[in-house]
Amino acid sequence: MSSDAATHSDPFDVELAALDGSPLDLEALRGHTVLVVNVASRCGLTPQYSALEELHERYSSAGFSVLGVPCNQFGGQEPGTPAEIGVFCSATYGTTFPMTEKVDVNGPRRHPLYQRLTATPDADGRAGEVEWNFEKFLISPGGEIVARFRPLVEPTSPEVVAAIERTLP
């Protein structure tokens, strides 16, 4: 890959606000292993929040972070305000990992972060659209998107944990 191509595919070379609307310092995530997950508060998969927080706490001291990305495109299951989303996550699941503003992950208004993420195939070789809430993308400390896990893959499953441990800085 040329350096030019690498620059243009850098997943964190984008503008993205935090859930509360304040600027999100994506530069602070460079050099870290990051698991990016599109989330929705009314999805049946929300128990994954607990496992995501477990991963975040287990590996944060080793240079790992989960990054939650609220999205309302799947069944309208993330309709709330930023405050409502924040309260749900922290009060229900005790999450401490960073959350972004609500964005589109598919379609004509797909956020540039997801334009880059969705070019990455999953283990079956399928790239393209995010399938549903709680799809996961693993980004290496060097900014390479190294793995993609579909929604039903549990965050603490052996394949996800192994990929994280291989990718830690």
Partner: protein, 67 residues
């Protein structure tokens, strides 16, 4: 009109989860690998939304009559 979800057709308009109307441009079978789940997708120039349903659910649709 009301139809079963398995009988929804491309071009049908139905009420999305937020109460707004979506136009079905694609139908995905076996959502999340489940044979009993289907998803209606509006993938248009203005938006992308995906609405799940069980196959046997009753769905209200607006369908243009031919001619």
């Amino acid at each position: 009109m009301t139809v079963q979800a398995k009988d929804v057709q491309l071009g049908d308009r139905l009420l999305g989860p937020s109460g707004d109307e979506i136009t079905v441009t694609r139908i995905d079978n076996a959502l999340l690998g489940r044979a009993d789940l289907i998803a209606f997708v509006e993938d248009s120039a203005v938006r992308w939304v995906k609405v799940p349903s069980t196959l046997d659910a009753e769905v209200q649709v607006i369908r243009d009559l031919p001619g």
